[in-house]
Amino acid sequence: MDVLEKYKEAWDNQPENSNKVSKSEIYKMMKSKSSSIVKWIFIIGLIEFILIGSSFFLFDIEKSIEAYESIGLNKYFMHFNTKAGLCIFLYFLYKFYANFRSISTTENTKSLMDQILNTRKTVRNYVVINLSYLTIFYLIALVLMIKKQFADLSTVQTIGVAVASLVALAVMLAVIWLIYQLLYGILLNKLNKNYKDLAKLEE
């Protein structure tokens, strides 16, 4: 007899769980709040959107455009940038919400994991786009500033300013990246592992 057969027999004959839950307890549970990772991805994603998106509303855009103009950036280019940024923000926010709404535990396991990871990817793409944009913008501003405001510095001093600015940028990006890895690493560790295991089944 297959070794599993006798265990299977034991499985088939197992008594009902001794912790039987009554209807009133089930009622309490069904009304309680979910603490699933989907909920956390939604909350954290929303916080990211609020943090990055709020820059459109918190800062005095006209004032910063003036400041950028003073170092030689075109005013119309800056206005265009702000509008484009807002459009990208709204597009991603809509996509994030649509993805989140499409998550359904009634789908099969593979589709469900795809949906969850897609929601997360939307936020990640948004953050990557913003950080790339910030980096490019920072570099352009740095070059312009060195040209215009530090024109009287010696070559060594100019290199010093450039290196210090680049290090500051690298540290900022590294910190953001670390927080990101930690946050989503903890949250999605199990899901990523299971997703890989499931993908292996299809190899």
Binding site: K6, K8, W11, N17, K23, S36, T105, L201
Partner: protein, 164 residues
């Protein structure tokens, strides 16, 4: 007068709760996590209950939502599963193998399943529950052929743990 959706849900869920308990026992290692997972499954099943149209059996649908919650949505509060050396477990299992009361065998079986990865757990669980390969492939979203091949591998892993 027809029953409200809540009453129907309570009837269906209460009478099928044993399925949920079995899944909780496979995917958690202590009573507190068991209760947390049970609660999360209850929430997820209720949240989607309006979508359940009764074209399949409630239990079939419950398998899917419960396994999905255990595999993809639930985060254990105490993260670390007690990792024991496989040979230690095998030794313990072997020692109790001679005692062939079904209760002991069942305990050994649950203990062994807990050492499989989450996906293999689902495969083995669906096998133990006599689900067809078609149902298994529908539940997990993999092809039927793959379900068959991987099921055999998962069963082999389980056998090795139970009877090294």
């Amino acid at each position: 007068m027809s029953k409200s959706l809540e009453d129907k849900f309570l009837d269906d869920f209460e009478s099928n709760q044993n399925i949920v308990h079995k899944i909780c026992r496979i995917y958690t290692t202590n009573q507190s996590d068991h209760n947390d997972l049970f609660q999360e499954i209850t929430i997820q099943v209720w949240k989607n209950y309006a979508k359940f149209r009764g074209d399949a059996k409630f239990s079939t649908w419950l398998y899917r939502v419960s396994l999905n919650t255990a595999i993809s949505l639930f985060r254990k509060s105490s993260r670390k599963v007690k990792t024991q050396n496989i040979s230690d477990i095998a030794f313990k299992i072997k020692a109790i193998e001679y005692d062939d009361t079904q209760e002991v065998q069942l305990k050994a079986l649950y203990g062994a399943i807990q050492h499989l990865n989450d996906i293999d757990k689902a495969l083995v669980f669906l096998y133990l529950e006599d689900k067809s390969y078609r149902e298994i492939s529908d539940t997990l979203g993999i092809s039927e052929v793959n379900a068959r091949v991987k099921m055999n591998r998962a069963k082999d892993k389980l056998k090795k743990i139970l009877n090294p």
